[in-house]
């Protein structure tokens, strides 16, 4: 299958390991990714604080580009997914759509309202199928206990994310964990906030959220947490040492991007998955699944 690829800013910025890991597993899954080099950032909900119409117009611009390619959009970031879904939800109103298209006309673009942006997490379940994924698993992560961590924007609000039409989206990450052979560690924090949006605003609270979730997963015996959101990854991994210092106890909870966990189970090497770029040591985890760097 072919998709218009929307990698988001963070997979090319603060989490540069995510982008190549995604490319490698998509190759194996026969998912063809066509870049949209002129697509802008979604606004991440931050631009929307200032001006929602502006954010929706920028997203409509990206949707129109994908329509011109006649391809569905594939994202790899919970935040991008949520912001795009919310914009698309508002753009279902024909009057609003016409207003937004007015701003796109100069560039020769028009959004017809047909885009259906989907996170790789949903694409795997809804378009590719877990059977196909399973057929590519050569190194099941047997014995590994994994705690899912979704990221707010891929679980709320449920109307824009069309959970009613797609009830499977509520447990999508758990389904992936099971397919790659690991054991799901269900925990309260899985749909809560990682704290990233307030990192530079109230670092204390942000770090308290990191330690709360990672320690809860640790207490339940998780070997790693797995997330479809690079922003969650940034806070939970890069800032985990700081969170541990604030909490006054060591944490040491490896955080895997969803494509990395899938890649490891497909037999790709930890280096190919960019695990050497992680701040929290992933070696104990790799030893457990018999993967050497």
């Amino acid at each position: 299958m072919k998709y218009a690829f929307f990698p988001g800013c963070v997979s090319r910025g603060g989490c540069p390991e995510l982008y190549p890991a995604t490319k490698l597993i998509c190759e194996k899954l026969e998912i063809e990714l066509q870049e949209m080099p002129a697509a802008s950032c979604t606004g991440a909900g931050v631009l929307q604080e200032k001006n929602e119409l502006l954010g929706d117009t920028l997203n409509a611009r990206t949707f129109a580009m994908a329509e011109a390619l006649d391809l569905p959009i594939l994202t790899i970031c919970s935040t991008c997914q949520g912001v795009m879904s919310q914009a698309n939800h508002r753009l279902k109103n024909p009057e609003y759509l016409a207003k937004v298209n007015g701003f796109l006309a100069e560039e020769g673009l028009e959004y017809k309202g047909k885009a259906n942006p989907k996170h790789l997490l949903w694409v795997l379940i809804e378009d590719i199928g877990l059977d196909k994924l399973l057929s590519l698993i050569t190194r099941p992560l047997a014995g590994l206990r994994m705690a899912p961590f979704y990221g707010c924007y891929i679980v709320r609000p449920t109307d824009a994310l069309e959970f009613e039409d797609h009830p499977e989206r509520q447990t999508a990450l758990e389904q992936i964990i099971e397919t790659i052979g690991a054991t799901v560690v269900d925990f309260e924090g899985k749909t809560r906030c990682c704290g990233f949006p307030i990192l530079t605003i109230n670092e204390r609270n942000s770090m308290a959220m990191v330690s709360k979730h990672t320690l809860e997963a640790k207490e339940l015996g998780a070997d790693a947490m797995i997330t479809p959101c690079p922003l969650c990854h940034l806070n939970l991994d890069s800032f985990q040492p700081k969170a541990a210092a604030q909490a006054g106890q060591p944490i040491g909870m490896p955080i895997l991007h969803m494509p990395q966990a899938i890649g490891l189970a497909m037999g790709l090497s930890p280096k190919e998955m960019g695990l050497q770029r992680h701040i929290v040591n992933t070696k104990p985890l790799l030893t457990k699944i018999g993967a050497s760097a």
Partner: protein, 323 residues
């Protein structure tokens, strides 16, 4: 129909009181609510089982609790739809101390709500006749004034979970009810003194935008959306000297001029380029990112056709409105 409810209980009057789980199976009408089932428990199984309720019609706001982990009103939740794996799990509302069983102490909730002065504060010259408010403005406010003070949003708030000093979604939505009222504030309806107060720590900028409160609210108040609107009002009113406002403006600026996010420069711009101690605080993180190959690109390249993004900014938000 018979339903099984698993209730988190707490009795403060026993020696060494600890919360404990108890299962009850009760018979209720097929269309009965979770509240119907809880009342049945009190009537048929345990007269000492404590909960608050009154109107049974989602008007009084007494029966907020966590049902299957989600905050909401027991009287507005149909039992049949709430059964998960054969059971409905019920806990007291979160972020408030439990008094007994499902009854929580609302003192902290009211303290926060009462920090918001609950009357219009017009500034400037008095009009000759009445204060005029447009129909649109009042219709816009009607969704916020639907708040029934049930505490569902506070129960669900991820920030209050780690920081009880946060003003929280209920009080901030209440504040918006006044700042968005054209009769409050100066002749242009700008509530400067309120906005200034709300930009302080523990105020509007501490919200993490997780949308839990929007999902939890049984009346469509959407507290987080109000908090986002408060932020816009504060920036419009000229309150730029906060990390939150700087973060939003730096983010927007990066997008306007390059089409995507310049992560490397976002952090110093948010904490303030002259805030040396905060910048030094980030140095270990920066070094760690550098040594692990996680540093965002030093040279931030524009996306293709970035000039078209800039044009959209200019059209949708005329430059004079921007800082």
């Amino acid at each position: 129909m018979d339903i099984t409810i698993k209730v988190k209980r707490f009795d403060p009057e026993v020696a060494d009181p600890q919360p404990f789980w108890q299962d009850f199976t009760v018979e209720i009408d097929d269309k009965g609510t979770v509240l119907d089932a809880l009342i049945k428990i009190r009537e048929d199984n345990d007269g000492a089982f404590s909960l608050r309720c009154s109107c049974r019609s989602a008007i009084c706001g007494s029966c907020a609790m966590r049902i299957n982990g989600q905050a909401g009103l027991a009287c507005k939740t149909q039992a049949a739809t709430a059964i998960k794996d054969g059971v409905i799990t019920v806990e007291p509302a979160g972020n408030m101390p439990v008094i007994k069983d499902l009854v929580v102490n609302f003192d902290g909730f009211w303290d926060k709500v009462m920090e918001i002065e609950p009357y219009l504060k017009p500034e400037g010259e008095e009009p000759e006749a009445e204060y005029i408010a447009s129909n649109e403005a009042m219709l816009h406010l009607s969704s916020v004034t639907s708040c029934i003070m049930c505490g569902s949003c506070v129960s669900a708030c991820t920030v209050m979970e780690v920081d009880p000093t946060f003003l929280g979604p209920a009080a901030l939505a209440k504040a918006y009810r006044f700042t968005a009222d054209p009769r409050d504030g100066d002749e242009n309806g700008v509530s400067r003194s309120r906005l200034e107060e709300l930009t302080k720590p523990s105020g509007m900028w501490d919200c993490t935008r997780c949308m839990e409160c929007v999902t939890a609210c049984p009346k469509g108040v959407a507290p987080m959306d109000r908090i986002m609107a408060l932020r816009d009002q504060a920036m419009e009113a000229g309150f730029h000297n906060t990390n939150g406002a700087r973060h939003t403006e730096a983010f927007s600026d990066s997008l306007e001029h390059s089409g995507w996010l310049d992560e490397l420069r976002l952090v110093p711009k948010s904490v303030g380029m002259t805030n040396v101690s905060a910048l030094i605080g980030y140095a270990p993180i920066a070094i760690q990112a550098l040594t692990h190959g996680k540093m965002p690109p030093i040279i931030h390249k524009k996306i293709e056709k970035a000039e078209n993004v800039k044009k959209i900014f200019d059209k949708v938000e005329p430059p004079k409105k921007r800082r």
